[in-house]
Amino acid sequence: MSTDSKPEEMLNAPCGSIDHRLHRRLFLQGSLAGAASVASFQSLFSVPAFAESAKARGKRCILLWLCGAPSQFETWDPKPGRPSGGPFGSIPTSLPGVHLSELMPKTASIMDQLTLVRSMSTEPKEHLQAIDALTRGEAPRPPFTRPIFGSVLAKQFGQLDSPVPQFVFLDPCPEGNEFKAFKASNWAGWLGAEYGPVRFGGKYRIENVDLPVGMNPTDHSEREALRAFLSRKFVNDHQNPAVQSYNAVFERVKGLMSSAPLFDLSKLPESDRAKYGPGIFGMHTLLARHLIENGSTFVMVANGMPWDCHAFNHETHQMLVPEMDRIVFHLINDLKARGMLDDTLVLVMGEFGRTPWLNEARGRDHYPNAWSMAMAGCGLKPGVVYGSTDEDGIAVNDNPVDQRRLFATIYTALGLDPHESYDLPGFPTFYRVEKDAEPIAELLA
């Protein structure tokens, strides 16, 4: 669960309220009295004092979330011929001296455009805790819920008056054990529900996006404005994530109605669909590209938990990796061809790696000690491989990277200060990245 932790730790905090974040919201609304509208909170970011910086504007991010956690040996850090290496060989890439698994020929051909970390070393060993750490940047500390970094980006880069949802979570496989539990948690945390994701399930269509029969757009808007007005006092009096999130979804309705066609894959060229498809992971990655092109800030593409290979690791990777290889290849190529790679960061990762040894079911189990992740685009130096593991992939040789350093690097690449503190009255001081973790200079452009 996202709020797992020892509550005792909280007693030293100045105040134990889960809801003080909302005072900030009230404070901000008060400071803008007269500017109130349905979209008032979004429009805060037009006020220079609250906008992080103009240079960061327009940055975008696609996260290909390989949930369940892929094996580094069958992807980014092959160890051919070693006991840990498995049956697959390695192949040279467009980056001299760097090899990838032979299951990834397409990505190997654009390795000079990727930025690879082979020395990920993190702590949580279980999916839920690891997903939390690798999407929020910290272990939970209830009652304070740290936002997922997609929410942070949606807030920082959210475009003024954009009808397009800023944080989209493409979630074709709603079941999926621990991931399901994670999905039920509060993603936007202390930033407030308006920065949570718009979730889009297995269907390629959003329901209920047409005006009710006989209603004109003005009536629809004014009816919503009345709803918001009549809810205001109650919502202000009930500083509670459930209440706030309920109210926030109505602020999205209009934007979703106008941007619904964006989610219609049948409107995209057949050639695109053929390239990415036919699997749902590819289709949703194509959708992610399309949404980013049309104004979304952060799109997370998940795919259930197929990578959790506790049994038949090699067979499963033999099926899954070529699909991922093709998807990553086309996504990077397409973004580059459209001139979008310079301000779009692409992340390809799971929540940990997998063991150098096999279990009795010929699976690889969870292994956070030494694993790999890949990135490309915005603010990063292309063609860099950072860190390495020993010859069997058991331990990191040099330059270990935990999730804090990773996030510090990601934020910096996107033009955000990783050490910025959250100004949340009544909260302990939280930073975008804790413990003064430094970005990895070698990876930054």
């Binding site: 889960i18 209920n208 009096d237 209440v243």
Partner: protein, 555 residues
């Protein structure tokens, strides 16, 4: 029912005696920096005697927590708030205006207690609590499965159990044993049957639902976060059910059980194997002869109680029976899980939260209180109705939910707003708007779709999603429901010519309160702009109230 408890003075004296232990402790030895949780502070609680009024014990324990953590409880709610809150929690819908008026005009000081009693014995309560229990015990599903739950007698079984206030220990025993002996209990089998012979699913469900503990994590290794949950408990619980098999009999779905088999080893991540012995939490253990390796067991008639081919098989040594006799019976978690869940239902979050995570990684906010309430519940004969009544009678339950500048919700210093379940939301909308064609809403397809759109029941944190917003804004059903054409309630007010009066009646009818000055003026403007389209104006305002957060939550 509660009259037999010693009244306030005695309880207060007893409790203050226990609580004062802290003060003494502080003077003598307690270091200043010691964490101020109740768990470390109040050790004498285990000896707090039973027989006290649970509502009073709860109030004193929570008040102690307020003082310890320097939080101020919010004010108490008035009768109008109370009647809405209680109807929603106990019968799953908002009260009708006439029910509100009746309650408000009563003058007896005991009228809240009387209303609690009245609602708890109603058929609506049985129907509502059965729905809640169904969603918790088996979960949201599709139309086909909902029909099967009804046909199998499962829903009727739950309703009867609530209606007759059957001891929770008996209900738990019946659903886990799944061997109904009387026609009223025939539906009890569906709890196991619905798992389709997936024994791990059964184990995970039984652990969560009956013991309030999630063991899923312990499938591959001892629980990484809660030491007391071992991998052997996971596979032990599976073993209690792994001889069971669904069978269809003339009496309906049943679960037969084999007398042999079900012996295997489980391996941990280090690769070492252990036998799956019949063992569960607290190392409650059932002895069973294990056949030697390579010995093939023989399945013989004399191993069974009955050899009638049409009956589900019942072995003389039944692992399920052993489980309910030797593991489930009087297990401390049996009562604790139900107390925590019903606390969560009434108060908006569990003393342990999430409610089905009673383990060392999720300490209770008030551990001694939870322990005492669990013992009290067991000693009452697992009396669910009495427990709900106690919770509804507390000061904490009757606090305002307005919480500006307030504390961590785990101290229960304000009431927590609770999202209505799908069933509660639907029923409340229908009660208020009185559609001419309720059949459409009550059709099973519609109810199931609605339940899946708003699936949460006692969720850890209920976060709304865009699909809900779109449905509420543009869905065909709600547009239809909030129309003058369909709604008897709206038809009853369209002829009111004074707009201010009409607005008041809308507010009173939907939210159960009067509009304030700002709300009246905003609505007057809204109507004035649609002077030529009166129905559209009324429908717009009704929609705004029906979809308001104030309506969506029990507060």
């Amino acid at each position: 029912m509660l009259g037999m408890f010693p009244r306030c003075l005695l309880v207060t004296a007893l409790l203050s005696q226990f609580l004062s232990g802290i003060g003494i402790c502080q003077d003598v030895a307690k270091p200043k920096e010691q964490p101020k949780t109740i768990s470390t502070a109040i050790e004498p609680w285990p000896s707090l005697p039973l027989g006290l009024d649970p509502a009073h014990v709860i109030d004193l324990a929570l008040e102690h927590g307020y003082r310890e953590h320097s939080v101020n409880p919010s004010s108490s709610i008035d009768d109008a708030f109370f009647v809405r809150r209680l109807y929603l929690d106990l019968v799953g819908r908002v009260p009708r205006p006439i029910e509100v008026q009746e309650f408000l005009k009563q003058t007896e000081s005991t009228k809240r207690a009387a209303l609690i009693d009245q609602l708890l014995v109603s058929d609506e309560h049985a129907e509502h609590l059965a729905e809640v229990l169904d969603a918790i015990l088996i979960g949201r599903t599709n139309v086909d499965q909902v029909k099967k739950r009804t046909d199998s007698g499962w829903i009727a079984y739950l309703q009867n159990a609530v209606h007759d206030n059957r001891p929770w220990s008996q209900v738990a025993r019946e659903v886990v044993l799944a061997r109904p002996t009387n026609p009223k209990a025939r539906g009890a089998s569906w709890y196991l049957y619905s798992r389709k012979d997936k024994h791990q699913d059964i184990a995970e469900a039984v652990s969560k639902d009956i013991f309030g503990v999630r063991v899923d994590c312990a499938q591959c290794h001892d629980h990484p976060l809660a030491d007391e949950i071992k991998q052997k408990h996971y596979w032990g619980l599976v073993a209690f059910f792994n001889r069971s098999k669904n069978v269809d009999t003339p009496e309906g779905p049943r679960i037969s059980e084999s007398a042999i088999g079900g012996f295997s080893d489980f391996a941990n991540l280090e690769g070492s194997s252990s036998p799956n012995e019949l063992i569960f939490l607290e190392d409650r253990y059932v002895d069973e002869m294990r056949p030697a390796k390579d010995v093939k067991e023989e399945d013989r008639d004399d191993l069974y109680v009955s050899v009638n081919a049409s009956d589900p098989k019942v072995p003389k040594f039944s692992r399920r029976e052993q489980f309910v006799e030797n593991v489930l019976a009087d297990h401390p978690l049996l009562g604790k899980a139900m107390v925590n869940r019903l606390w969560g239902w009434m108060m908006g979050r569990g003393l342990v939260h999430p409610v089905d995570s009673i383990d060392s990684f999720h300490p209770a906010s008030h551990p001694q209180l939870l322990d005492w309430l669990s013992r009290d519940f067991a000693s009452s004969g697992y009396d669910v109705r009495r427990l709900i009544k106690s919770l509804a009678s507390t000061k904490a339950y009757q606090l305002s939910s307005s919480n500006i500048g307030n504390s961590d919700p785990k101290w229960f210093a304000t009431a927590l707003p609770k999202p209505l379940t799908a069933e509660m939301l639907q029923r409340s909308m229908l009660v208020i708007l009185e559609p001419l064609n309720p059949g459409k809403w009550n059709a099973i397809e519609h109810r199931v779709a609605f339940a899946n759109l708003f699936p949460d029941v006692l969720a850890e944190e209920s976060i709304a999603n865009a699909a809900q917003g779109l449905w509420l804004s543009n869905g065909e059903s709600i547009t239809d429901l909030v129309s003058v054409k369909q709604s008897r309630f709206l038809q009853s007010i369209v002829s009111v010519t004074d707009n201010a009066v009409l607005i008041e009646r809308l507010f009173y009818g939907i939210l159960g309160r009067k509009p304030d000055i700002d709300e009246i003026s905003q609505c007057m403007d809204y109507m004035a702009k649609r002077a030529e389209r009166r129905y559209a104006a009324i429908e717009g305002m009704s929609w705004a109230l029906i979809t308001s957060a104030e309506f969506r939550f029990n507060h």
